[in-house]
Amino acid sequence: MKQFGYSINPDRQIDYDLTDKSLLSFIVSFEPSLLSCISCGTCTATCTAGHFTDFNIRRVHTLLRRGEITTLKKEIQKCMLCGKCQLACPAGVNLRNLIRSIHVAVEKFNV
C-alpha cells in the first residue's frame, strides 16, 4: 500500500442500522425495565460515584445503545452499587441489576 503522507480519517458517524445490538439485547433480556428509561439523567445527577469520578450511568446507557461497547467494562468498574440512582429514577429502572447485567454481558461477549 502506498503512503501519501496522510491517512483516511475514521468515520465518527453512528449508523443505528449497522451497530452491534447483541450486547444490548442480552442486557435487556436480563433487565427489561431498561426499556422504560427516558434518558432524563436523574440517575447521573444523584450518583455518588459520579460526584468523585467521571462515571456517568446515563452515558453508559447511550454508549450501549450506540454499540460503542469497548469502554463499557472499564466504566462500570466505577459503580459502587449503592442504588441511589435506582431510588431517584422516575421510570423505575432497576439500575443496580442493570450494572450487574452489564458485568455479566461484558464477560460473556468478551468485550
Binding site: M1, K2, F4, G5, Y6, S7, I8, N9, P10, D11, Q13
Partner: protein, 356 residues
C-alpha cells in the same frame, strides 16, 4: 415518491437564466484538472447553439480559493470581482456566466453584500477607480455555466447522437449527480431547484435518457473544502468525505458521477485512485472506478464529440467502460495522442484500479 408534489415544488424553485449574450469567466483550476471542459462549453454554446459568448483574456482569478483559505480579505476579493464586472461592462455585456462554482458562490456573496450594504459598494467602486481607473455596472443576470447547459438541455438532446442508455441492456444508465456546495447551499435562490431540490444536473441526466440515483449521502460535500485539502495534514478529512459518499452510493451500482464544480470531479476522480492504493478498495465493476464527468464532458459525449478531444484521457478513473455502455465510438490507440498525433506519453498504471 409522489412525483406531482415534487414537480410543484420544483416549479417554485426556478431561477432566471439569460437567453443570450454572455460574458464568460473561466475557472483558475479547471483547465488543469479537466482541460477539455471549458473549451467544450464554448464550442457547444457558440457553434451548436449559436449563442454570443465572450471572454476577455484580461480576466483574472476571482480570489475564491484564497478567500476561502483565509488568505485574501473580503474587501480585496470584492475589488477584484469589481474589476471583472468592469471588464464585462467595457465589453458591452450585462449577463455574467462563471465556469467555477466557487466563483459563482463568491460573486453571489459579493452581490448580496452590496445589496444589503450599499455604502460598501460605493467604497469598492472608489477602490477600483483609484487602483485601475475603471468603473462598472452590476450584472443583470448571474448564472453558472451549468445553468446554461441545463437551460438548453432540450436543444442539446435534439442534436444528440448518443443517449444515456446502456446499449447492451437497453436500460437507462444510473447516474449520481453531485452539486458543488457553493452552487446553492449558500444562496438557495441563486440555483435551479434551490438547496433542497437542486435540479440543474438532474434535468440534464433525465433529458438525455439517464436515471438519477437517490442515495443517503447525496448532499454530502465531496470533501474538497479548501483547507481540508490545501493543508496536507488535513487531507484525511477530505478523502474521508469522498469515501463516505462512495460507500453510500456503491450499493446502487452507479454508471457515472456527474458534477458541476471544479473541485468535486477532481476529488471524486483522484480519491478513487488514492483509496484503491491505500485500502485496496474500488467502487466500480471489475476493479474499475466509477467514472466522474463534468457536465460539459457529458454534453460533449451526448453530442458525439471524440472523447479524447473532451480530455477524458486525463481522468484517473478509466472512462472506457462508460463509453462502451453509451456506445461512443473511440480509438484506444489515440488516447494518449495530442494535436497532430503528438505522443503525450502514457501514465504509470495504478496497482489496483483498472486503467487503460
Amino acid at each position: 415518491m409522489i412525483s406531482e408534489g415534487k414537480k410543484r415544488i420544483w416549479n417554485e424553485y426556478q431561477k432566471e437564466i439569460a437567453d443570450d449574450h454572455y460574458f464568460y469567466v473561466r475557472s483558475c483550476v479547471r483547465q488543469n484538472f479537466f482541460p477539455g471542459s471549458e473549451k467544450t462549453f464554448l464550442k457547444i454554446m457558440q457553434h451548436e447553439l449559436g449563442k454570443d459568448v465572450y471572454e476577455n483574456p484580461s480576466h483574472t482569478t476571482c480570489t475564491g480559493i484564497g478567500y476561502h483559505s483565509d488568505i485574501v480579505p473580503f474587501e480585496t476579493a470584492m475589488t477584484v470581482i469589481a474589476r471583472q464586472f468592469a471588464l464585462m461592462t467595457e465589453a458591452g455585456y450585462e449577463n455574467l456566466v462563471t465556469s467555477c462554482i466557487t466563483s459563482f458562490g463568491l460573486y453571489s456573496e459579493v452581490l448580496e453584500t452590496w445589496h444589503h450594504f450599499p455604502e460598501l459598494l460605493q467604497k469598492i467602486r472608489m477602490h477600483l477607480k483609484n487602483a485601475t481607473g475603471r468603473e462598472f455596472n452590476i450584472p443583470k443576470n448571474l448564472a453558472h455555466a451549468s445553468d446554461l447547459i441545463y437551460k438548453f438541455r432540450n436543444n442539446i438532446a435534439a442534436k444528440s447522437t448518443n443517449r444515456l442508455i446502456n446499449k447492451q441492456t437497453g436500460k437507462p444508465l444510473k447516474a449520481v449527480e453531485h452539486i458543488g456546495c457553493h452552487y446553492s447551499k449558500m444562496f438557495p435562490s441563486k440555483g435551479v431547484g434551490g438547496a433542497e431540490y437542486p435540479y440543474v444536473l438532474i434535468g440534464m441526466i433525465e433529458e438525455w435518457g439517464g436515471e438519477v440515483i437517490d442515495y443517503p449521502e447525496r448532499r454530502h460535500c465531496c470533501g474538497f473544502g479548501f483547507r481540508q485539502y490545501l493543508v496536507m495534514a488535513n487531507r484525511g478529512y477530505s478523502i474521508a468525505c469522498s469515501r463516505k459518499k462512495f460507500e453510500s452510493m456503491e450499493p446502487y451500482k452507479p454508471d457515472l458521477i456527474l458534477t458541476n464544480c471544479p473541485g468535486c470531479p477532481m476529488f471524486f476522480d483522484r480519491w478513487q485512485y488514492a483509496i484503491s492504493e491505500m485500502e485496496g478498495k474500488t467502487y466500480g465493476e471489475n476493479d474499475h472506478g466509477i467514472p466522474v464527468l463534468t457536465y460539459e464532458e457529458l454534453s460533449g459525449l451526448i453530442l458525439g464529440y471524440d472523447p479524447w478531444d473532451l480530455g477524458l484521457q486525463v481522468h484517473q478513473v478509466a472512462v472506457e467502460p462508460l463509453l462502451d455502455k453509451i456506445g461512443v465510438q473511440y480509438n484506444p490507440l489515440e488516447k494518449y495522442q495530442g494535436i497532430d498525433h503528438k505522443d503525450l506519453g502514457k501514465p504509470n498504471m495504478p496497482s489496483i484500479l483498472k486503467f487503460y
